[in-house]
């Protein structure tokens, strides 16, 4: 930058728009990150308290609800197959649809880029801790989605929506008798959710989708390298066309493209694993020794655990509260039925998709490349696929764009609902949020990965503070809901009625 030896003014002029945006936002990112990720040293490694907060919530609800993450999935599958849906409810939102909507918002770049970041920073052992976090996350997800349905709102126009802002306000007041405490948590959550929507639900997605587009158009030589903001602008126009312009056809294409891409992604992962079959036992060896070993480079067991938990939580969003918004529109008179269905979400997201990504990165040995740390994110995953399927980065670019776009649309909805809560469903406030959301698509695309990960993680994890406090306060109520529902299923008070449609 200073090669020409010019004045400060010249230096500023020489900076690209991307760099100027990054310079302006990096201190903000560091500041927020410092607060949300306040860490204490444990065995020589910094342990962010927020990660402990989320994992504790998952562990608590796993125990408190009686290991529903093991006992619940069978019934969840029966619900998803429509075996408890009444024929006269045909045409309403089914358990399958609520789950698919939530999963399409969750399965995104956290599964592709986030996992690569985890393995770069925490080594192969992070995979095991991601799976453990996914398993514990199932219980937290069950708790929050049960409440999401229990306290959802039906408006005079017939629209149905819910989420932490409603269950924190009403549920906490109901349990503690403190109306203001519930309201405070709900407002805290809503403000964080707006930040989370703009951070992880938007900037991180735009950033990594742009990175992949640049990677497949020539990498450092790509004509788009210094024009990331233009790629962001194209994304912003597409997002704006849907969320502001109401062009549903784009959303329709996306919602069909995402499951297709997820299928292709998993299939390609199987191909990569099959092509490296002899390396599989050694890869598992590395994963397990990394998870329980003491590799000083990656911080040993604690380092792998922290990174694994952090990336899993970012990916499956259990305890964050976002899924409760997506699940709440389902047609059911038993809130815990949707809680059961929500168990499947971290399972699919983390235990299936994240593990697939981790396996191909470890098995292909892509993470051993000295440049792996620099590649980071989606580029490392892409390199891992390319070791077996050289043309796959192009397909991955389409998948990444589809995932990123769908996650952005879903999170714009979460942010809009939070805005609606804060401003009493004011249409002008919701429109203002949508415009700001689109602006941040451009900003997210322009920054480098570091500051974006910082802001994204901070904002998303901040949502977990009020949400998990509320879950603890309502823990006994959740337990009664879940166990009461299961008793009704066991006694036959709630009967199977067969698939609908």
């Amino acid at each position: 930058m200073s090669a020409g030896g010019g004045s400060t003014v010249e230096v500023i002029l020489a900076q690209s728009i991307d760099e100027r945006i990054e310079d302006a936002l990096s201190p903000v990112s560091s500041f927020i990150e410092g607060i949300v990720f306040y860490a204490v040293p444990v065995a020589g490694v910094d342990l962010p308290l927020i990660v402990l907060w989320l994992v504790s919530a998952g562990a608590f609800f796993t125990y408190h609800l009686g290991f529903m993450n093991l006992r619940g999935p069978k019934h969840a599958l029966e619900l998803v197959r429509g075996q408890y849906s009444r024929p006269e409810d045909a045409g309403e939102v089914t358990h399958f649809q609520a789950l698919a909507t939530a999963v399409s918002g969750t399965v995104g770049l956290g599964n592709i880029a986030g996992v690569a970041v985890a393995i770069t920073l925490g080594g192969p052992g992070a995979t095991v801790w991601m799976i453990v976090a996914g398993f514990l996350g199932m219980s937290a997800k069950m708790a929050e989605c049960t409440l999401g349905v229990k306290y959802r709102r039906t408006r005079p126009d017939g629209s149905v929506s819910g989420g932490p802002m409603y269950y924190l306000e009403k549920g906490v007041a109901e349990v503690t008798g403190r109306v203001r405490a519930g309201k405070f948590l709900a407002i805290f959550f809503s403000i964080s959710a707006i930040g989370g929507a703009i951070g992880g639900g938007n900037m991180f997605q735009a950033n990594q989708a742009t990175a992949q587009i640049i990677a497949v158009t020539g990498g450092a030589d790509s004509p788009l390298t210094d024009l990331r903001w233009i790629v962001g602008l194209v994304f912003a126009v597409a997002v704006g066309a849907v969320i502001i312009g109401g062009i549903k056809s784009i959303a329709k294409v996306t919602e069909k493209l995402v499951p297709l891409m997820a299928g292709i992604y998993l299939l390609a992962a199987v191909v990569v694993i099959a092509a490296n079959l002899p390396a599989v036992p050694a890869a598992f060896g590395e994963i397990f020794s990394g998870a329980f070993g003491a590799d000083s480079v990656t911080g040993g067991i604690i380092g792998a655990l922290i990174v694994g938990f952090q990336r899993a939580a970012f990916s499956n969003e259990a305890g964050i509260g976002s899924a409760a918004i997506a699940h709440s529109a389902v047609k059911t008179s038993h809130p815990s039925s949707e809680g059961h269905v929500a168990l499947l979400e971290p399972f699919l997201d983390t235990i299936v998709v994240c593990t697939a990504t981790a396996l191909i990165i470890v098995i292909s040995g892509a993470y051993l490349d000295p440049a792996a740390g620099e590649l980071g994110g989606v580029a490392l995953t892409s390199a891992a696929f390319a070791t077996v399927i050289p043309w796959f980065p192009n397909v991955l670019a389409i998948a990444v764009v589809a995932f990123a776009f769908s996650t952005m649309l879903t999170w714009s909805y979460y942010g809009m609902k939070a805005t609606g809560y804060l401003f009493n469903d004011s249409p002008s406030a919701e429109t203002a949020f949508k415009v700001i959301f689109c602006v941040f698509v451009v900003i997210g695309a322009s920054l480098s990965l570091g500051p974006v990960i910082g802001i994204s993680d901070s904002m998303i994890f901040m949502m977990a503070i009020p949400n998990v406090i509320g879950l603890y306060i309502m823990a006994n109520m959740i337990k009664r809901e879940v166990h009461g529902y299961r008793a009704d299923i066991a006694s036959g008070a709630i009967e199977k009625v067969g698939p609908i449609g």
Binding site: G91, T101, D157, G158, V160, A329, G501
Partner: protein, 143 residues
């Protein structure tokens, strides 16, 4: 005579002819006529959060529109001389017609010819075609 005659209805011309044909048959046999309008819907389709939020309200308006635009005109064609039951429901057209025929003890299902193009029928099949394949009772397709 026990049982009913079931006719699938929409707002096409062939459907009107099917209702007339079914009415005459129900009248001749002295049985109840079941009018069914199926709103195409799958429990396994993918939807956006906004669609989910509005789904319940939209379902109500779809059922109201079916009642007003399809079932009421069909009832008018049937008239007072034949006892008739009218149902609007969401689902897969062929499967739901067959399921409702079973539920209402129907011994005959009638539908109007849907008139899809040859190519579309080859690719996706037609409702009468699918119904003929899966129905438990005789099916008449009225041109």
């Amino acid at each position: 005579m026990p049982g009913t005659v079931l006719v699938g209805v929409d707002n096409g011309d062939a459907s009107k002819r099917a209702v007339e044909f079914a009415r005459d048959r129900a009248k001749a046999l002295g049985v109840t006529l079941v009018l069914v309008h199926v709103i195409p819907w799958s429990p396994y389709s993918f939807s956006t959060p906004e669609e989910n939020e509005m789904r319940s309200a939209r379902r109500k308006s779809e059922l109201a529109a079916a009642e007003e635009q399809v079932l009421e005109p069909a009832r008018t064609i049937v008239g007072d001389e034949v006892e008739c039951v009218a149902i609007a429901r969401h689902g897969d057209r062929a499967e739901l017609l067959n399921a409702l025929a079973r539920e209402h003890d129907s011994f005959h299902i009638l539908v109007g010819r849907t008139g899809e193009s040859r190519m579309k029928t080859k690719l996706f099949g037609s409702v009468p075609g699918q119904l003929i394949q899966i129905a438990d009772v005789p099916v008449t397709v009225v041109p």
